[in-house]
Amino acid sequence: MDGNNEKLVLLEHLRQLNDTLTRLSARRRRLRAERRVRLGQLKNTVTFILSFVLTALAAVLAFFGLPFLPIDKIIAYVVGTAVAFFTTLYLLIYYSILNRDRFSRQKWVKKRLQPVNTKISRMDTEIRSLLSASFLDAIPLDARLIDKQLLAEAHEMVVAEPEISWVEIERRLDTQLMLQRTRRQSLFASEWFRLFGASFPEKRA
């Protein structure tokens, strides 16, 4: 491969990496949203069941049994029902005010969320694996510049000036970046920092 084609292939790989990262990151976000919805549904279900049980217990306590039971059994009946009533009430309040994070750590909730949690963790592993590609070890561009639009501009530069150096490409892209009104971090740079706890190309985590 000649040097020019090598540059174009490398830029193409960076563009593809960016595409894959975009898709994986979007999918992970979608899965997280699905997880939030499922968590909400689980919480709603448990509070609904507890409210229903509470109402039933209140009804039992108020209307049933009292006129028919002999006096020696009435105390045990009232105490038992009251204990059940207040335990349910306690659970209802507990689950109503329990924040989602702590709720999601409960064993039975974890079990129900396991399929979606597995998918999310799989996305994390896929992103980690993607960012471990060996060609990133010697990448001649800064992470900020690994952005779809900037890479397309770099491609045009190489096509127009085959002899252009990486230093010059980086300098021009830097200028482009400064001229852009938005200074949003590139997806690649943010995912790298999230995963490795340091700026590209360092790895701390």
Binding site: L10, E12, Q16, T22, A26, R27, R30, T125, S129
Partner: protein
Amino acid sequence: MKIVVIGGAHAGLSAVNAFRQVNETDEVVILEKNLRERPFISAGIKLALNGRVTSAEQVNFEHFEGQPNTTYRSGVLVERVDAAAKKVYARTIDNGSIIEESYDKLIYALGSSARVPSFVGADLDRVVFVKDEQDAVDINKFAKGFRKRALVYGGGPVSPELAAALAHSGVHVTFVTRSKRLMTRYFDQAIQEDLEKTLTDNKVVLRKGQEVVSVDNQGKKIEVNFNNGTSEVFDFMAIAAGLQPNTMLLAGQVDMRENGAIVVDDTMKSSNPDIYAIGDSAVVDGKFDQYFPLMSAALKMGRVAGYAVAGLDVKIQPILRTIGFSIFDRFFYKTGLTVEAAKERIGDHIERPDIHTPATIHALGEQTDIVASLIYDYESGIVYGAQISTNAPAAAEVITTLSHAVSSGLTVTELAFLDTYFESEINLPYSVANRLGEMGVIAEAKRAAGKAIDRNTVDGDDNLNGFQ
């Protein structure tokens, strides 16, 4: 000898199964990221929407057959390939541990992934791609419900198929493509017009020559803004904007095309003699080496690599990117080059006669027809491509004949008199393939005589075969 196969989808498994037919002793290790042993194909998405299968995962061809001396490691993500040390490093999805495999021969079959268009909002939740199992789940989820509206974005065969399948399942579909016509890389005008007519006749709205500028969330819907200043609200958007080879692992280690596809010879060997590349990751060097990832080609490439690694003297035939798909009971096929592609590769002396002819004897009851185009070099007479659309499923076989004609370098004269079969309920005695060749012969006779060439022919204006 130890063979490591990266990618256990159709191409990879095809290579392993072929290798095992002739070699039972050498060690083979397959590294696959998915957990299932039956790979997924995107055609399943369409078939599931059409109701032909209950879920997209049911459609597959190759699978791991559990042969001896073969290890199938699923749930493994390959992170690095060191071609110099002949080692592969991978990470298990379950616990993140690293595994290392050394190899004597490497078969690289990591396939392709969906290309993400550059408009703003391509990563929104209601914007889905058309490639894998999760995409299939998402599309099915979004398509369910009353009066759903979908925007299908793309230019390849997957997008009209998806548009038709969504329309079949009751979704109001709009189709957007940057080109002024549909599928410009695959078809020329005659078939493009027929394709567009088939879609619009079935209430698919076409937005041709338009580009999506941005997509914004609008509650549980999305608002799509187009470059002509209009915007429209949809329930979801499905993107089939092409595929790109997953070859980053071999970056700088083997020769690649500018699009990242690994260049291989006719035995699937890359510039590194110990690395074979197959399927959507590779492109075979030659006259017809356009990058068109197709499963039919991937299976053949896999088999060639498998047999070649086992020591058999096999070579792949030119991959003409022969495709076929059906929408609303009409079938579209293509082989070889379009006029534009042929002009780029062969020269400006390209001719394209079109024909509209009955596909069967109409007196028998079925009103079948074929629209066909032939692409040939009028200086040498060699056939370089052909395209067909028809409502007669049996006529599909004509494309195989035409593919063979292109592959063998037949001239229009040879094609006109090629031996073909006739069965009164299936086709006509003078095959469409022959008829296309004959049109070339007549055109060249007229060109030689300095007369005007008739490029559009309609057959069947008599009572027996006509469009009565």
